[in-house]
Symmetry: C3
Subunit: 180 residues, 3 copies
């Protein structure tokens, strides 16, 4: 039986001091959650200040939520849509020319439900060049999204997506190829 | 390969001046996103001021997000539930006696993923009289929801829903008739 | 045909005075929605002040939304993840050692779509000990989630989940057992 009183996240490395995390949370609230304009250039600078690697011309819409900027790498010409959430307990690495649509949720954390201690499981997520994560879609821990792959709106990807594949459903399955 | 540096939305008509849009964004933040009470009558007046056509007795719950009020038409006795999002790059037209439940997402925008330029595709959405969009459901660009049709909670409609049909799943399929 | 002008919720008991509800809405906005730190102990105290029964060591992350604290019972060592929503028009009863993940939506309300008056239907939701509601999942009115049951990310449960079952999809179906 699950016993969450026995749960411990002491082996999990948050990657920053508590002070750094708290100032980030306040910054995120004011600039990322509440500000109704995009101000992408300012957001890029702030994210870099907190340790993110961010390329050129990355668009960051209002209400984008990034959990740990110091575990984030984004290439050039990437779009992060409104209300998308990069829940990056481990690294989220986004290559160039990727679109993460509105309300999408990239989730690097899970739990080992076989253990009473419900141990935290964290794995990185990578989105390869040209990938598109549709609105309201969900990407689980450890998932690699292949080059030019598409996860359609509202779909749930717990496994890798092959390059050039278009995936739909829960669980997301390959429904066709993007090219030809 | 997708090349978002070549993307252009110059052919897209936002339908209002930048000034109008910015004042709307601030109004939306304060009255629609942050205000914890519905104040539907006030919201209706504000939406009309910004160019929406809104009928009588339209209920607009807290945290409803409307992207462009000037591309919105709503009939009488319509409910917009908490956290639903009318992402109306093109017109969203909602007939009378429609219920849009909590966290539903009406999305008029997509992209042509066959083109390297990932061109913006926008198409209107119409909800016919008596339709019901369930909680957390998603409706895609160009979709017409038929009279009295139901899209169940969490379902994803990329195609038209026939009148009187109850649709479920991702993609949403007809599972039964509403009447009988 | 649906006629929402004939709708009435006069038989629905909100369970608290309007004044109590308004002060709760303001408290919820400030402490639950806007505060970027968890402050779980303070939240537990506030919820108890508003009539909730809350056990020991309940973690309440930022942006958790609870509609009516006076219709809420939670055991010990329970986690409520960011942006989860307990829409408890009727009681939501959560046993000990339960995890409700991010963006999950427990929805006790529906409507009788067979009636022109679209009558409100409200039914309690219970989560038995050790259950896990995955990120972005949806649980409908009247659903009992069995002991140690798991509803995977993005899945939609309109019916009961058996103890120890792992359910996935929309509608959620049993895909395997949690133990062995």
């Amino acid at each position: 039986m699950t016993d969450l009183s026995a749960y411990s996240s002491k082996h999990f490395d948050r990657g920053a001091s508590r002070l750094k995390e708290v100032t980030w949370l306040i910054t995120s609230l004011l600039l990322f959650q509440l500000c109704p304009l995009s101000f992408s250039a300012l957001k890029r600078s702030v994210l870099r200040f907190y340790g993110a690697k961010i390329g050129r011309n990355v668009t960051i819409k209002p209400q984008v939520k990034i959990t740990f900027p110091w575990k984030l790498e984004i290439g050039d010409h990437v779009w992060l849509g409104e209300e998308c959430w990069l829940f990056n307990l481990e690294k989220i690495i986004i290559a160039s020319n990727v679109c993460v649509s509105q309300r999408a949720f990239l989730c690097t954390g899970s739990h080992n439900y076989k253990l009473p201690t419900f141990d935290l499981i964290t794995k990185p997520i990578t989105l390869a060049e040209g990938a598109w994560i549709g609105a309201g879609a969900w990407v689980g821990p450890g998932v690699d999204i292949g080059r030019q792959a598409v996860l359609t709106a509202g779909s749930v990807a717990a496994n890798h997506l092959e390059p050039d594949g278009i995936y739909r459903g829960n669980p997301a399955i390959l429904v066709r190829r993007r090219s030809n």
